[in-house]
Symmetry: C2
Amino acid sequence: MRMSRYFLPVLKEDPAEAAIVSHRLMLRAGMIKQSSAGIYSWLPMGFKVLRKIEDIVHEEQQKAGHMPMLMPTIQSADLWRESGRYDDYGEEMLRIKDRHDRDMLFTPTAEELITDIFRSHVSSYKDLPLTLYQIQWKFRDERRPRFGVMRGREFYMKDGYNFDLTKEDALHAYNRHLVSYLRTYERMGLQAIPMRADSGPIGGDDTHEFLVLADTGESEVFYDSAVTDLTFGDREIDFDDKAQCQSIMEEFTTKYARTDETHDEAVFNEVPEERRRTARGIEVGQIFYFGTKYSDAMNAKVQGPDGKPVAVHMGSHGIGVSRLLGAIIEASHDDKGIIWPEGVTPYHAGIVNLKQGDEEADAACEQLYKELTAAGLEPLYDDRKERAGGKFATMDLIGLPWRITVGPRGLKNGVVELTSRKTGESTEMTPAEAVARVKDIYAGA
Amino acid sequence: MRMSRYFLPVLKEDPAEAAIVSHRLMLRAGMIKQSSAGIYSWLPMGFKVLRKIEDIVHEEQQKAGHMPMLMPTIQSADLWRESGRYDDYGEEMLRIKDRHDRDMLFTPTAEELITDIFRSHVSSYKDLPLTLYQIQWKFRDERRPRFGVMRGREFYMKDGYNFDLTKEDALHAYNRHLVSYLRTYERMGLQAIPMRADSGPIGGDDTHEFLVLADTGESEVFYDSAVTDLTFGDREIDFDDKAQCQSIMEEFTTKYARTDETHDEAVFNEVPEERRRTARGIEVGQIFYFGTKYSDAMNAKVQGPDGKPVAVHMGSHGIGVSRLLGAIIEASHDDKGIIWPEGVTPYHAGIVNLKQGDEEADAACEQLYKELTAAGLEPLYDDRKERAGGKFATMDLIGLPWRITVGPRGLKNGVVELTSRKTGESTEMTPAEAVARVKDIYAGA
C-alpha cells in the first residue's frame, strides 16, 4: 500500500475521550472512529488488524478440529425464554421489536441458538463429539461503555460450543480449547494466563479466564510468578489425544493463578512468598464446562449406545476478537505509539523515502516495494511529500515492527537502514539485504 | 474434511417451506437453518461457501484500489435524521431503543455513516479519489421474507462508497466498480448482466443493476440477446486508466438490457426482432452515481484546488454476498442437487469409498486425501459406513464439481473413477492421474 492512496487519518492531538493508552492510540493511528457510545467503525488499518486476528483464531480452531459456522445477530426471544435467560439477562440485552411486534434481540452469546440447531439435527451418540464455533458480532448494552474496543457495546467475538456424550468427553473438549487458546494468543505475541474464574451468567462449575497482565486491566489477579515462565511454543499437538491435552492443561493451570472472584488467601499463602504476585489483568477469553444446563432446559438429547436418551454435556468457549486489539496494544506500546507483534501487524514493513522526488531514492523505494510484494509480504510505503520527521512520527505511531529508511545519502554508499520498532536499533545494509532480512523475519511467523 | 466428523445435516425430504429450488437445496444440503422468519444460521458447508464468495469480493475490490473497512451494524438514528432518510425509510428499517432510550437502528445501508466518517477526516481535494467499502451484515425488515437467503431480513452485503472531486472522477469510480463486478461474478461462474435500472431510495441518476437470468428471478428483464455473448475473461485491467474502464463499461452497457422499471418499448423495438428477449432475472448487485445528494445534505465538503469548498461527488455500489449463494444455485443445479462452479465450491473434490473397511480401498482413499491436501486442495472424504447409493446421492446433492470413486474392483486394475458433477461423465484412471487431473483443473481457478 502507498500512503498517498491510503485512508489513514492519524490524529496529531490526543483525543480527550480516551482514558487508556490503547483507546488513545487506536484513535490517533486512524484505526477506529466512534460512531455512538461504545460502537466503533473500523477504518482500513484497524480492520486489517481485526481480520488478521480473526484469521489466526480461525486457523487455530480448525487445527483443533472445531467447525466454523455462523449464527445471525438478530434472534427471536422465544429460545431465550425456553432457557430462562430472557428475563435473567437484564438491561445488557438489546431487546428489539420487529415490524410484526415480535420480540427479538441482538445476540450477546448463542448457547440457546446453537442448542436448538443441535437438537434439530443430531439424534445419535454416533454423531458426537461435535464442536461448532463462529466469529460474529455481539451486542451488550453496557450502561457505561468505555476504554474503546475493550468495553464496547458492539464487539466481535469467537464463541464455540461443544456437545459430548459424557462429562469425560466434554472435559476433553474443555482441554482442547485451553490448548488451542494458548497457541492462539502466543501467535499474537501475547502471554495470556489461564486463571480459575467465576462462571457468571453462563453457568457451570469449570471455567478458566485467559488474562493478559496490564496495569489497565479491569480485574485484580493473584498468581504464582512461575506461571509467567511457561510458554507454549511450537509443540506438536494431537487434539484427539486426551492424555496430551490433559497434561498441557495441568501444566498451565496447576500453579496458583486466580482472579479476585475466586481468589483464596489461604491457598495463595502456600505459594513461596517471593513468587506471590498481585497485578491487574485484561480478560481476552474464557472457557466453560457447564454440563447439561442447557441440554436439560432445552431437551437436547441423543440416543446413547444403550438406546436410551442422554442429555448432552456441553461447554462454551469465547475469545474477544475485537477486544484483543486493545489488549495487544496495552501490552505492547511505548510513548511514541503502538508496537505491533509480527503475528498481527497490519503491514510487514514500512518504507520511508527521505526525499520524495529524488530520482534515485524514488527508484530504490519502488524496487523495495516490488520485491517485498513479490515475496508475499505487504509493505506500507510512505511516498508522501512530507519532511522526514513527520514520516518517522507516523511510522512510530502506527507501529509496524520494521522500517526501511531510504535516502540519497545512504544510497551513495549503496545502503538503506533497517530499523526495529521495538528496540529502535538501526542497521545499514544494501536494499537486497534488507529485503532478505525482512523475508527471513516473517518466514517463521 | 472427513464426512464422519463433519456436521452436514442433509435432509432426505423436501422441506415444505421452500418455494424455490435454491432455498430447498440449501436446506436439504445442510447449508442453512432458519432461526426466525427471513433469518438464517449458516451451517459449516453454507458458511464455507459464503466465506469463499466474500473472499472473491474482497480480492476483486482491492485489485480495483478500493479499501476495506467495517462499520457497525447498530447505528444512531441521528445521522439518518440529518440526511432525511430516517422518516423516509419506512417499516423496513429495524428501529431500536437502547437502555438509555436513544433511537438506534440496524443498518440497511451506510451512506450516512460513511459520509460522516469522510467529513470528519478528509478536508482537501488532495486526499481524493477515495473509495471505501465493507462487507457487513445488514437488516431490512421485509414484510414477507421469502425464498431463503434470496430475500431474507438479515443479509450479508458488500457496500462501497466513492468520494470524488468532480462528476467525471465519480463516473470513473462508477466504471471501475462496473468492471470489477463483471470479473467478480465471472469468477463465481455467473453471468450477471448490467442493466439500466431505477435508483429507488438511494437516489441518483446513473445506476445499473447486475442480473443473473433465472426463471425464479423477481424482476422481469428485456434485453438484446447479444449481451449474453459478452464475456469478461482474463483481461488485464489498469483501474487507474479512465479510458479503458470507460470502454469496457460501454462494451457491456450499450446493447439494450433493462429491468421493467426502466424498460422502453420504443427503444427495445429498435433491436432486431430475432435478438429481442424477455426473461426473469435475479439482482445480485447494483452501482449508483448520485452526485452530491448526501454531501450536500450532510455538508461533506473538501477544499478544492482553488481553495474554495466543494461538495464531493459520491456513489455507492453493492453486491449481495449472501444472496449470491441462492443465485448461483438457481443458475446451476439439476434434479439431483447443486452443481457448484469451481470458483466457489466448498470442497474441491469428493472422495467416495465404495467399501469402507476394505483394507485396500481405505488405504487408497487415505492416500488420495493426503495428496490432494498436500497440493493445497480441500477434499471431502465420505468415510462413513454407508451403502454406495447413499454416498452418491449425498455427493450429488451437495454438488462438489468433481468426485473420485474408489472401490476394490477398480483398484484390482489399478484405477479409480473421476466423475464430473456437471456432465456426469466418468473416466477411469490411476489414483495418481486423478490427483494430477484435479490439481490441473484448479490450477487456473
